[in-house]
């Protein structure tokens, strides 16, 4: 059976037909074809949705959104908003509906929603909806009933660890910041979610901003801060505006500002926007960027908990870390610690992408295996192709092969396998991915994003990229693998910050698990996945070729010769491996070797 991610049911009751339901149906079809969504979204006819008076009308599933009153001119907007951007087109919504998009499906049996519990369920622009879901109850409890030390103790006992990737115990961090005698302290949220493919934090910022605000207010109370900053990347304009609306409403409700809930506790928050620099996700670089400087990391110690923003003790946590806190306060440290493994407690959100059937956001208890994530939560690979590797932890993470699919997902196991938890990006790859090419691709990214301050990272990543590029072009040499390994070790041990220290991971892990692919590239001048253009040859099968000349006429460099009705040949020296001949051949006579 064909699989559709969404279904649009258009009402064809007489009243709606009179208002142009058929035209709407046609326009929808056309627009979906134009946007290439026709294989993902199914359009059906139905009756009696219940809004004929305001028709034409339609229901969109699985979200259950009821749209009314559109004309055919609105269809491109509707399709773009709902099916491309994944946002509900509010102006056509019939009644109040829950807001869910394809990024965030209904949870599967293996999932537990703590951080994402409100995403898609409540209106992020209405604080009352958050309050109705026990919102700000934890903050009220903390400032009226608990001492700061008790709060820290609860977080410590819960076993919550930093969700930004490194996994430092959150309670411990708070303790360190609290311990400083400096009167001015800050809490900072790292919302600079720059890892390619990771968009868990974006969903929380856009879908449940008050949970973050509440978590930060609790942290501020625990460590003794009056001011906080949320550093959000500039690539997330919607998140920034949602946050600003949420902050304004929280102030209006007396949940931020002076004398919160009539107590002596005062705290306010400000959103700071980045300007596009991946390294700003590193905490000392992030602090430099908030201060208005170049976002370059500095050596630690001193850690921000001792000397951070403007030299004051500063507690920096990730969006997901803070968002967990209100739930821990309300439901208890024991509840939180009951999920997960010995040393990794609670749940973790991941953004799955790549060649997996159900790409999107998931939240799973720690300790779940990768196999369960890929096959049970993610539904397996697209077109049921064989699994080749999974990349976890963003550009500083590693690639792991099928042999470790049964690895439990926790901080220690992942590190041991040569990858890392990271912030939660997960890219699934099928057997058509070349591991040398993908390692080169990641190195291009880190090389580009290296801030340039320290030499091992600035020069080292450049050299790695050059060698990898050469290998992919078919110019690999004896000794390249050893040089790569040596360089990786040097960069790892001598770089200043996490970016440089993690940058070699994609190369090291592919060398560890897919060494034979490197060897094939270098020694046999062969790309097993048939991806690297310098190492593949397009060939015409003489038996299948009918001599129709289509390929020769389409070849941009005239590399194909042959008489009509005779088998053609490709001159490998002229061929630029563009693949056009293969696309235009009607007889599948062209293959890659």
């Amino acid at each position: 059976m064909k699989y559709f991610r969404s279904h649009i049911l258009v009402c064809v009751d007489p009243q709606c037909l009179q208002k142009g339901a058929h035209e709407i149906l046609d326009a929808l079809q056309d627009e979906l074809v134009a946007e290439g969504l026709i294989d993902e979204v199914q359009v059906l006819e139905t009756s009696r949705i219940g809004g004929c008076a305001e028709g034409p009308e339609m229901m969109v599933y699985p979200e259950g959104v009821h749209y009314v009153g559109m004309t055919i001119d609105d269809i491109p907007y509707l399709v773009e908003e709902h099916f491309l951007k994944g946002r509900i087109a509010k102006k056509f919504v019939h009644t109040e509906v829950t807001v869910v998009d394809e990024e965030l499906r209904a949870p599967t049996a293996k999932e537990i929603r703590v951080v994402l519990r409100n995403c898609g369920k409540i209106d992020p622009e209405n604080i009352e909806e958050y309050i109705a879901e026990d919102g700000y109850a934890a903050l009220a409890k903390v400032i009226s009933e608990m001492q700061p030390d008790e709060v820290i103790d609860t977080v410590l006992r819960s076993g919550l660890r930093g969700r930004g990737g490194a996994g430092f115990p959150t309670g411990k961090k708070w303790q360190l910041t609290r311990a400083s005698s400096e009167p001015v302290k800050y809490v900072v949220c790292n919302a600079d979610e720059g890892d390619p493919g990771a968009f868990m934090n974006r969903r929380v910022l856009e879908g449940d901003p008050h949970a973050l605000i509440e978590g930060m207010a609790i942290a501020a109370y625990a460590i003794g801060a009056q001011q906080g900053y949320i550093y959000c990347r500039a690539e997330y304009p919607v998140a920034v505006s949602t946050l600003n609306i949420a902050l304004r409403q929280a102030r209006e409700f007396g949940l931020l500002g002076n004398h919160i809930l009539g107590t002596d506790f005062s705290f306010d928050l400000e959103v700071r926007m980045g300007a596009g620099a991946f390294v700003c996700g590193e905490e000392t670089a992030l602090i430099a960027s908030i201060e208005g400087r170049r976002g370059e990391p500095r050596p630690r110690p001193p850690f921000p908990s001792v000397a951070g923003l403007w030299g004051k003790p500063t507690n920096v946590n990730n969006v997901e870390t803070y968002t967990n806190v209100p739930q821990i306060i309300l439901r208890g440290a024991e509840w939180f610690a009951s999920m997960g493994t010995e040393r990794s407690k609670g749940t973790k959100t991941f953004a799955m992408a790549g060649d997996v059937k159900h790409a999107g956001l998931i939240e799973v208890p720690l300790g779940i295996t990768l196999r369960e994530i890929v096959y049970e939560v993610g539904g397996g690979l697209k077109d049921d192709k064989p699994f080749k590797a999974i990349q976890i932890g963003g550009p500083m993470g590693g690639f792991t092969p099928a042999s470790i699919l049964d690895l439990p997902v926790d901080y220690e196991s992942l590190t041991k396998a040569g990858t890392m938890m990271g912030s939660g990006g997960m890219i699934v790859m099928d057997d058509e991915t070349c591991m040398v090419d993908i390692a080169r691709f990641f190195m291009e990214f880190t090389q580009d994003e290296s801030c340039g301050k320290c030499t091992p990272c600035r020069v080292g990543t450049r050299r790695l990229l050059e060698i990898l590029t050469r290998i992919c072009e078919g110019k690999g040499m004896e000794g390249d693998i050893e040089t790569l390994e040596f360089l990786c070790e040097q960069i790892k041990t001598n770089s200043l910050c996490g970016l440089g220290q993690g940058a070699p991971n994609p190369v090291l892990s592919t060398l560890q698990y897919f060494r034979e692919e490197y060897e094939a590239h270098i020694y046999e001048k062969r790309c097993p996945a048939k991806v690297c253009k310098g190492l593949i040859r397009f060939e015409i099968q003489p038996g299948t070729c009918t001599g129709c000349t289509v390929c020769a006429r389409n070849c941009p460099v005239n590399a194909i010769s042959g008489e009509r009705r005779q088998a053609h040949q490709i001159d490998p020296d002229t061929c630029i491996r563009c693949g056009i001949c293969m696309q235009v051949c009607n007889f599948n006579a062209i293959s890659i070797n």
Binding site: L84, P196, A353, D355
Partner: protein, 159 residues
């Protein structure tokens, strides 16, 4: 925004508006630069001069910041800015073909602006809408699930 329409007044106006909104403080430098960049399309040398005077901060330090962040540009940009997401999730679902098609169709390489001032082609880091990759953004419009074939059609929507 075409270069020739950028006269001195426009620059002063943009700088004044940004400083008025964020305050003449060194700590506010990035918000100020962001706003001016957004209003003018890029940061002309004259804008940096004026901000430098207003904030009493050396021009070199401003240039250091302006050149550090991807989203701030010290070079003029075309009327339409195409941002291509170069991240891994888009790469593994066919981003490279789209990127090649874009370059070919526009006859531009990364970071280049067409001679007629219509297009600027740049890459961007992950936009977080990986579910519909490969993704490009033209000005503020998002296009997802792109293939090389669709590129000419998308570009044709702009004039």
């Amino acid at each position: 925004m075409p270069v020739d329409t950028l006269n001195g007044n426009k620059i002063t106006e943009a700088v004044n508006a940004a400083i008025e909104r964020h305050g003449a403080s060194r700590d506010e430098l990035i918000p100020i630069l962001n706003q001016v960049n957004q209003t003018l399309g890029y940061l002309p040398a004259d804008a940096l001069n004026q901000i430098s005077l207003r904030l009493r901060e050396p021009r070199s330090s401003l240039l250091g910041v302006a050149s550090f962040y991807h989203m701030l540009s010290t070079k003029p940009r075309g009327r339409h800015v195409i941002q291509f997401c170069e991240s891994a999730p888009c790469h593994v679902v066919g981003g490279r073909e789209v990127w090649e098609a874009l370059q070919e169709e526009l006859n531009l390489a990364n970071e280049e602006t067409s001679p007629d001032g219509k297009w600027t082609l740049i890459t961007t880091s992950c936009l977080g809408i990986c579910g519909v990759g490969p993704v490009i953004i033209i000005d503020e419009d998002v296009y997802g699930n792109l293939t090389a074939d669709k590129v000419p059609g998308v570009l044709a929507r702009y004039n």
